[in-house]
């Protein structure tokens, strides 16, 4: 079975690195039909985001790869649990990966390790400062990332910080309160306000469409 890169060389042109709605449906259906090429295509499209997500939460590239491995095993073996909605496949894969990473982080030892590592660093003033934009063709989904970033950057700085610590670093309310020297109630309030602002901004976002 050819890999995506082999597919590229065989046809003489690269696979379109985006996931149109019709193609998402097709990918989903092909995964249900146990098409290994469909899994390879999905991995090529979304693995960088899953690795980024797991690595941000776990701060360990080896563990992040294990989590992503587990996520793709779930995709392959439990594709029946993915929403039938063609727009639901990628969010489901993202959710599965994040839940696996959070499960690992919830183990006491790992959480303590994380907190110890985290304590050695300063909380960035602009946690969502944009890295250099890569070539769009080499980072499928980059425009979705940019839209999410725009929504995050629209938050007041104090809300950006708690969202970054909580959602993207996986720290508990209590740890965030400790880190920022603010009451737990303030952490919860800032998070609630932030998510109330993010929800209407993120809700209309569509799948990766050309």
């Amino acid at each position: 079975m050819p890999t995506p890169s082999e597919e590229r060389s065989r046809t003489g042109r690269p696979l379109t690195p985006v996931l149109a709605q019709s193609r998402a449906l097709s990918l989903h259906e092909r995964l249900v039909a146990r098409d290994e090429q469909a899994l390879a295509e999905l991995i090529e499209l979304i693995a960088p985001w899953l690795l980024g997500l797991a690595q941000a939460l776990l701060e360990d590239s080896g563990e992040a790869e294990e989590v992503v491995q587990e996520a793709f095993a779930i995709v392959w073996n439990k594709i029946g649990q993915a929403p039938a909605d063609p727009r639901g496949l990628l969010p489901w894969v993202l959710r599965v990966t994040r839940n696996r990473a959070i499960d690992r982080l919830r183990s006491r030892r790992r959480r303590l390790l994380k907190v110890a590592r985290f304590a050695a660093r300063a909380v960035p003033v602009e946690p969502f400062a944009e890295p250099e934009e890569p070539n769009e063709a080499r980072a499928p989904g980059w425009h979705v990332h940019r839209a999410v970033h725009a929504a995050l950057e629209a938050l007041p700085p104090e809300q950006q910080t708690v969202v970054w610590l909580a959602y993207f670093q996986g720290l508990t309310h209590a740890r965030i309160a400790e880190r920022l020297s603010i009451p737990v109630g303030t952490v919860k309030t800032r998070l609630r306000l932030a998510f109330d602002k993010l929800r209407p901004l993120l809700a209309p976002m569509k799948d990766w469409i050309v």
Binding site: E44, R95, N99, V144, V148, L191, R199
Partner: protein, 226 residues
């Protein structure tokens, strides 16, 4: 504030994975039985579906994508000799632990007896002590909570309650100045009292009462206020 309000307040925290492990498990079992929360959680999951894309992508190492596909389809390789070595080590350790365990058993029993004596002394000396009668499934039991100032811990006793029904559990909640905080699950067997000793839930959360519920339904069996 009802117990259900706690679930309403923490829906986003649940969806975004911000609850503590035990709170998360509590919420999960509640969502399975509460259509209102189930619907709300699904809506939130839809709305926040793309938020994980806020991370910076990480390029896979060379060969990783191929390995991911291969291992997802064929499963991870199993190295049986590693398991055998681990089992051998574990067996040796168990033998060693067994010997020392036997020797310590007597000391542990003495320690437990001392702890019971301390607990009884704490009840006698407690200042904030409340008790409520609890009735369920033909049983009439009690729910007792008091604060021990010496150890700065809350002590809870539940007695003469039937075992929780399959899929259910008894749970303690602290009523604090900042709202409800879930405490641990409580086991009951109807034959002997259950005794728990718990740390105070933080200096900023002054405890003003307690609630005993049946979860995941959030049915209140007893509510006490100081």
């Amino acid at each position: 504030m009802s117990v259900h309000d706690w679930y309403v307040e923490n829906r986003i925290a649940f969806v975004t994975g911000l609850l503590e492990k035990e709170e998360h498990a509590l919420f999960t079992s509640h969502v399975e039985r509460c259509p209102e929360c189930g619907e709300a959680v699904m809506t939130l999951e839809r709305e926040l579906a793309w938020l994980p894309m806020g991370v910076t992508p990480v390029a896979p190492r060379p060969g990783l994508t191929h390995r991911l596909a291969d291992q997802a389809v064929r499963g991870r390789p199993r190295y049986w000799w590693r398991w055998a070595a681990a089992l051998g080590t574990a067996a040796s350790l168990l033998l060693a632990v067994r010997v020392s365990t036997e020797a310590r058993a007597l000391a542990v029993s003495q320690g437990q007896l001392n702890a019971i004596k301390d607990s009884l002394a704490a009840i006698v000396g407690a200042e904030r002590l409340l008790q409520e009668t609890v009735r369920r499934d033909g049983y009439e039991g009690g729910f007792l909570i008091f604060y021990d100032q010496d150890t700065e811990r809350w002590n809870v006793v539940v007695h003469d309650l039937p075992p929780a029904r399959p899929g259910e559990e008894y749970r303690l909640w602290f009523v604090t100045s900042r709202g409800l905080l879930p405490g641990p699950a409580l086991r009951a067997n109807g034959a002997r009292p259950t005794f728990l000793t718990l740390p105070a839930p933080g200096p900023t959360n002054a405890v003003v009462g307690a609630v005993l519920t049946v979860e995941p339904g959030g049915v209140e069996l007893a509510r006490v206020r100081f």
